[in-house]
């Protein structure tokens, strides 16, 4: 490539990289009064519960998480107790006070009638609460969300948290606390609907006798909650809906603890082994409803204690507000270290590596922003770093091979070509092995590990691409500007030195 062509291409590439760097990494105010603000791609990329957490334009929250406290029936927070007491009429205060007993130094209050057996908490309450906590843990685990947690607080309340990246957080907190037995009723309205599952047939069977499992599926953009029925379940539903006509309005209610979770309009007899329920579900909401129904099916009993959501908080980054900023500074220092090393060892060829590394970082940032399930967290940062290291190692390897080729007396152009040819399979093998490791792990693993694995996979893809194609191209277009090509790369011809 001639000097002019090289200059044009190099200028264009430099401008594109500079613009993309600004778009990806540099937030800035758009006007003097600070009302309009440009958020970088990195700024608006989803963060996880540990690292992320700040407000964008005071309206949108990125990263961090939500926490809520569940109170079982008969337990209220100390604050609610104080507020209720203050709001009660003077003549009712004493009665209200006598209904509750302080627990955990007044952090919570226990309703004597529901919770206590004399002075102590009743065994039946303890058992019911333990069962409810076990179901709640199962439900939160099945959401497969990194940053989700469940812990018991003050013995009889449960503190839960979900990452802010989970869009169904509000609904999840509300519905995941629903406890009790799963039942299906049929009728024209919820109040008068008759229970069809579980039904009395000589001996009473639980709902799991009629419904095998509840799952969710999304196909062609439509999400379903799928109930796999046993023969008995199919028969029960078919019997109940046998008299339905399209003119009458009848409904099937899928209840938990007597409260409807799904209301299904029935216009003809339902006689299917798998009941597909669609509607306004998206993938997350269908999965949430299926999780609630399935866990209730497997473990719900009528003695379980319902949990209601108490105070909720929007938590900032678990590692503190500065965690992300300090991480960015660390990454900046590493970028600088890498650039300095390459400039010192390979002279102005360091620019080729710098361009390559920047393109890699831009590509990865765009991927983390654009791919729905990727969030910026420690796992994805670690994977991104592995990609950057492998890229640097590959670049160094290619430069060293070219250096050796040049030292044997080849021209620079031929040395570069030959160097890359000799190390191509080394670089290819290194990337393909780590990319395969990432993608295969991603397909099986869950939560943080799957994010790490997928980021590693795409990181290796971009690292390989940048090293073998972009890096070489950058070198190719930068070379024509050097009068002394060997000096440009700090390469030396050993034979020439000896001759001198």
């Amino acid at each position: 490539m001639g000097k002019v062509k090289s200059a044009i291409v190099l200028t264009l590439i430099t401008i594109v990289i500079a613009v993309l760097c600004v778009v990806c990494f540099v937030p800035f105010p758009c006007d003097g009064n600070g009302l309009n603000y440009f958020n970088s791609i990195l700024g608006i990329a989803e963060k996880d519960a540990e690292l992320g957490g700040y407000l964008i334009g005071e309206t949108e929250y990125v990263g961090g998480g939500y926490s809520a406290v569940y109170y079982p029936e008969g337990v209220i927070s100390g604050r609610d107790y104080e507020n209720n007491l203050a709001a009660a009429a003077e003549d009712e205060k004493e009665e209200y006070e006598s209904e509750y007993q302080a627990y955990a130094d007044g952090a919570i209050y226990l309703e004597k009638e529901t919770v206590l057996d004399g002075e102590n908490v009743s065994e039946s309450f303890k058992e019911g609460f333990a069962r409810s906590v076990a179901i709640l843990e199962d439900r939160f685990e099945r959401l497969h969300l990194s940053g989700a947690s469940v812990r018991v607080v003050d013995d009889y309340t449960v503190k839960v948290s979900l990452p802010a990246s989970y869009e169904m957080a509000g609904a999840a907190f509300e519905y995941l606390g629903r406890m009790g037995e799963l039942s299906v009723s049929f009728g024209s309205d919820e109040a008068s609907a008759e229970t069809v599952i579980p039904v009395q047939r000589g001996t009473e069977h639980p709902a799991s006798y009629y419904i095998k499992k509840v799952t969710s599926r999304t196909a062609s953009g439509v999400s379903y909650v799928i109930l796999d029925m046993t023969d008995e379940g199919r028969e029960a539903i078919a019997d109940a809906t046998s008299a339905v006509s399209s003119s009458s309005s009848s409904y099937l209610y899928f209840n938990i603890g007597g409260e409807a979770l799904i209301t299904l309009t029935v216009s003809e007899q339902i006689d299917q082994s798998s009941l597909y329920i669609s509607g306004s579900y998206d993938e997350e909401s269908a999965a949430l409803v299926a999780t609630i129904l399935d866990t209730t099916l497997k473990g719900g009993t009528e003695d379980d204690i319902a949990l209601s959501v108490g105070e909720m908080h929007r938590e900032q980054a678990a590692y503190g507000n500065n965690a992300l900023m300090m991480l960015y500074i660390g990454l900046g220092v590493l970028l600088l270290c890498s650039a300095v090393f390459f400039f010192v060892r390979y002279g102005r060829l360091g620019f080729a590596h710098l361009y390559t590394l920047l393109i890699y970082l831009i590509a990865m940032t765009l991927c983390i922003w654009a791919i729905d399930f990727l969030t910026l967290g420690l796992g994805s940062v670690l994977a991104l770093l592995f990609g950057a290291i492998v890229l640097s190692v590959s670049d160094a390897m290619a430069y060293e091979y070219a250096r050796r080729e040049f030292a044997t007396g080849k021209t620079m152009t031929f040395a570069v070509k030959s160097g890359y040819k000799k190390c191509f399979w080394h670089i290819f093998d290194m990337h393909i092995v780590l990319a395969a490791l990432g993608f295969i792990t991603y397909f099986i693993a869950l939560t943080e590990l799957s994010v790490f694995a997928f980021t590693l996979g795409i990181g290796m893809f971009f690292s390989g691409l940048c090293s073998l194609a972009i890096g070489r191209f950058c070198w190719y277009i930068m070379m024509p500007f050097a009068k002394d090509k060997a000096k440009f790369c700090r390469f030396k011809r050993e034979e020439v030195e000896e001759d001198d």
């Binding site: 604050r79 939160f140 929007r314 503190g320 965690a323 290291i389 395969a436 943080e448």
Partner: protein, 333 residues
């Protein structure tokens, strides 16, 4: 590197070192598990109205709390920044903020109760009519979810086996088998060291450490494999016996492995140094899998591969496929 560093005689020694660490790790893990930072302890939470009564006074609330703690001689382990209370249905802010401090389980309940009263009276004096609610709660460790752990372990094992099949095709089955042994060894040894050193980790960290160990192990072993393949192409190596060839190859490759390991070490140290406590607790312990990977790749791997190469050479000689010496002789001619 001493001459004939990689000898089969040393394999039992390396295996013994690894076995001792693994057994100690398994025992400690069985007894105590990993040192999870599960957030158990006593929380001291102050909820205040940040819109009307204590508007712009959040910093002062935190200052009062922290002064009170230090005057009572109690230290919190973790502080949760002022988090807005939100409405259950709309997730919109209610105007209240809650700042929380987590104390260890051993912190005296009386001291915390005293702190509660002191902070309440101080804030009442400072912000007249302020709506402040202070509560001390005892929270248990967060429940650890089992499914991500076992699926992660299966995922890593499957992925490692698949990529080693590729390595088998590209670099030979001896190196693939050695790589499999090394990767499994490195992952287990990293987890054992994590259990032994009692480094506090988040729930997901052991899995990420295991994955990092697998990546580092494969990366460093790949470097070794590349060097070996390149070196063994040299006709001079065809005349050497297995031990000599592996030893010579080790001499030429150890620097490259060390350079890659050093680059990784610099990354982990820089990020550990320029980081807040939470991220530091993640990046600095990554030096463990790195050290294990470097040890495996430089010491254990070649020793293990030596035995496989010897077997391979014997098998090839039996089949009459070992033609290296003839080739070398040809080359010399």
């Amino acid at each position: 590197m001493t001459k004939h560093f990689y000898t089969l005689k040393k394999l039992p020694l390396f295996a013994a070192i690894s076995a001792v660490i693994l057994i100690a790790g398994i025992v400690l893990f069985a007894l105590f598990g990993f040192s999870y930072d599960a957030g158990a302890g006593k929380s001291f939470s102050v909820t205040y109205d940040a819109v009307v009564t204590i508007a712009d006074g959040g910093d002062r609330v935190e200052e009062v709390c922290e002064d009170t703690f230090s005057s009572l001689g109690i230290r919190y382990e973790k502080k949760t920044e002022a988090a807005p209370d939100i409405d259950n249905n709309s997730l919109s802010e209610t105007g209240d903020y809650t700042v929380s401090y987590l104390f260890s389980e051993e912190t005296s309940a009386e001291k915390l109760s005293e702190a509660k009263e002191t902070v309440a009276s101080a804030l009442a004096g400072e912000f007249e009519g302020a709506d402040v609610y202070i509560v001390v709660r005892t929270q248990e460790a967060a429940h650890s979810f089992a499914e991500p752990a076992w699926r992660g372990a299966v995922a890593l094992l499957v992925a490692v086996i698949v990529v080693l099949v590729y390595i088998g095709f590209r670099f030979g089955w001896g190196r693939a088998l050695t790589g499999l042994c090394l990767t499994v060894h490195d992952v287990l040894l990293t987890l054992a060291l994590l259990a032994i050193t009692r480094i506090p980790v988040a729930f997901a960290s052991p899995l990420l450490f295991a994955a990092a160990a697998a990546v580092i192990s494969l990366l460093l072993w790949m470097v070794q494999c590349m060097k070996m393949r390149e070196t063994f192409k040299d006709p001079a190596f065809r005349t050497m016996d297995a031990e000599e060839a592996v030893n010579e190859c080790g001499r030429s490759s150890y620097k490259t492995v060390l350079y890659v390991a050093a680059a990784l070490a610099v990354v982990f140290i820089v990020l550990g140094a320029v980081a807040v406590a939470g991220t530091r607790a993640f990046f600095l312990p990554l030096l463990l899998p790195l050290a294990v990977g470097a040890y495996s790749s430089l010491v254990l791997g070649p020793t293990l591969y030596l035995s496989m190469k010897k077997m391979d050479d014997r098998s090839n000689a039996k089949k009459g496929r070992y033609v290296g010496k003839k080739k070398a002789e040809k080359a010399e001619e």
